[in-house]
Symmetry: C2
Subunit: 427 residues, 2 copies
């Protein structure tokens, strides 16, 4: 596989008619919709930052079509953005599909020239972030996403692969620079400096944000995580695994939107998901009503955060024990029974490093969602700005603890028990 | 630049006649030699593991020509080896040349089809390893190579480059898989398991080597360094920076043979050089004579090891202070005077990590030269096997300390003062 490339001149944004034409030309898709193209109902539903998303429904069923736009959707055509990202999204799905089972949507067709993917329409799934705002329970989500990150990262790492295959992936995804650039700027730089792209709840957070941008130790810690993000090519990572990239029902979860994929630190995916659960926890007082103060729901969120990590940890170690087929920690070095203790201890140390990485990256993700360019609906939907600011301030304070005093947090218990102490707006 | 490729069918190993023809065709080379091709004296001088090396001398001067052979020279045609390595060697020289000044040879011509490079013939330089065996003093070598690693690694890292340029380099050098495979197998795997390619001074070291291959904590530590080698894409590294890849005179030093280049941990280059100085130190009693017991010379070696690290450290930090133009630790985050302390502390932590990395990788390099496939002349030229085994045993014992009890070695003083205590054969 060569390093990407979109279709150049053949690209055009899809409209209802051209989308119907495209789908009518696909033997694998027509029967899923049934009937004749004029009967197919097309609805554009994209609410993300970057893409067109269509649901197309026919008499027999429906599909979802995602197309990359040549600019950042939320910013408009003045912020151009490479449509090659559809290529990398597809390459990521291809790389992890053999390993993650039903935890991603079924992909029916990838159309390279149009930079679009025809995939399963997930129903009755909702975006996890919106479900969390609504106070809905998804019993399997922590376990599912823990399992997902374990499988997707383990099987693309040097623990499972001969390094030659990893280097091929490294070279391929090193082409996904425009998307990595977004993370480098919006996660690891802009939030910590003056930038026109930043915003925050003003004036309530003004002094806290000003303090953050003067906070040398905080900035140095964030910069260290930024350096790790660029240097630690541990596994193929999703690159944007927040609660808006997870669709859930009461029975299952699916991971979507991997266009930020590249070879990076496993903790970056762990931290994206974990940090967004913490953001949700901090946002909950803003969604409390007379009927539901969200106390029980917050407990459930923390429970899911714990299950997420413990599932990841347990599954990752189990996969490693069963599939040590890579060049890192080669199985042939530890063949004797007497090697078992040292190997087990090295594996523990490995996942303990991932735990620290998760917390550091989670903190960076939390901060950028409150003082940077792209905010989250968890807070944005809290209409009272004072109440919103209280919630955001708590999350910022916790993120600072995670970055500047990481030695406090050697276990999940220590993290979860700190939350109600650090800036909780409901107290 | 695309990912490598040799000339395919145009490749042939050079002989004296075809070499004269090639050089005669090069406008930039003819005047360096002077006279007419039949007057040029050709001598094959390759003593490394992988390549043909010719000195060609004419009336006006001489050049060195290095050509990759399609197999591992020391093993013969039964161990094939990609000739693309000449491409990566040249790509490495191109990448570092703007930064390292006179610390590499001048490159006159790279001939892609023949996988050969025409370069400056260094004279009166000798291979550092041979100089060390001979007990010769090279007053600038520690400082030169410290400076070299600082410059070559800093300017190819995320500290100096926009990450897009680093990712381009990462993708390019990810193609150098056959050479990286050698390191993965011969440095990080074979020495720790039974392999037909291994050998050691037998029977004297039999029990120590058997113990090493049963030593769970040692193997787990070595495996962790192997994993770092594959995952930590910090900078473009030489990949084989032992004392056989350094040519020295009393006035200066040059780094050669970068065909193992790839994006990896800076500590791997530091450790290769440092570890080989330690090997030399341990080998010295084997070269003692009635006239020279090598005591003073060993002191000089340790002095150079110290100068190597302190020069690297000081130069790396100075380059960083003056050229923070990369995406890691972006300068714009630390623009205020009040940020200086936190940034300085982050930089100290960064180079302290490099120090630990240097020691870990040095230990791996030391072990593989004593119990693995490719040994070093420092020990091999000690003809009395008992004496050789004593020297090797000391180096192995020190390497084990570095791997298994790294907390003893937080400073260069702690490392250097440990040497006479750990397995010194001269005591």
């Amino acid at each position: 596989m060569t390093a990407a490339a979109n279709g150049g001149s053949a690209y055009r944004p899809l409209d209802h008619d051209s989308l119907r034409q495209l789908l009518a030309s696909l033997d694998e898709v027509r029967p899923l919709l049934g009937g004749r193209p004029p009967e197919w109902r097309v609805r554009e539903v994209g609410d993300g930052n970057l893409n067109l998303v269509f649901f197309v429904t026919g008499p027999a069923g429906s599909v979802c079509v995602k197309q990359a736009l040549p600019y950042v959707r939320v910013a408009g055509p003045s912020w151009p953005m490479s449509i090659d990202r559809a290529f990398y999204e597809n390459a990521y799905y291809q790389a992890v599909a053999p390993h993650v089972g039903g935890l991603i949507p079924r992909i029916y067709h990838y159309q390279r020239e149009l930079c679009c993917t025809v995939m399963e329409r997930l129903s009755p799934h909702v975006i996890l972030r919106l479900g969390l705002i609504g106070g809905r329970y998804f019993p399997t989500v922590g376990r599912d996403i823990g399992e997902y990150v374990a499988r997707a990262s383990f099987f693309t790492s040097d623990l499972a692969l001969p390094f030659e295959r990893k280097f091929d992936g490294l070279a391929l995804f090193a082409g996904n620079k425009p998307l990595v650039r977004i993370t480098v700027d919006l996660v690891f730089a802009d939030p910590y400096r003056a930038s026109d792209r930043n915003r925050h709840t003003t004036p309530r957070l003004d002094s806290q944000v000003a303090a953050l941008r003067r906070d040398g130790p905080l900035k140095a810690a964030a910069a260290r995580w930024g350096e790790k993000f660029l240097c630690e090519a541990q596994a193929l990572v999703h690159g944007d695994l927040h609660s808006g990239s997870v669709m859930v029902s009461e029975a299952e979860s699916r991971v979507i939107d991997p266009e930020f994929a590249f070879y990076g630190p496993i903790g970056f995916d762990l931290g994206a998901f974990f940090g967004n659960l913490l953001l949700s926890w901090y946002s909950q007082p803003g969604h409390a009503t007379a009927e539901d103060d969200r106390t029980a729901y917050r407990r459930w969120i923390l429970g899911q955060a714990g299950v997420f990590w413990s599932t990841f940890r347990e599954r990752f170690l189990a996969l490693w024990a069963a599939n040590a087929t890579g060049d890192a920690f080669p199985a042939s070095l530890f063949a004797a029974g007497s090697d078992a203790a040292a190997l087990a201890s090295a594996r523990e140390a490995y996942v303990n490093r991932l735990f620290s990485d998760m917390l550091g990256f989670a903190a960076c993700k939390m901060i950028r969602r409150i003082v940077g360019f792209a905010h989250v609906a968890d807070f944005e939907t809290i209409s009272d700005p004072d109440r919103r600011a209280d919630c955001e301030a708590g999350a910022l304070a916790m993120a600072r603890e995670l970055l500047v005093r990481p030695e406090q947090f050697r276990s999940m218990e220590e993290v979860l028990s700190a939350l109600p102490q650090v800036g909780d707006a409901s107290e």
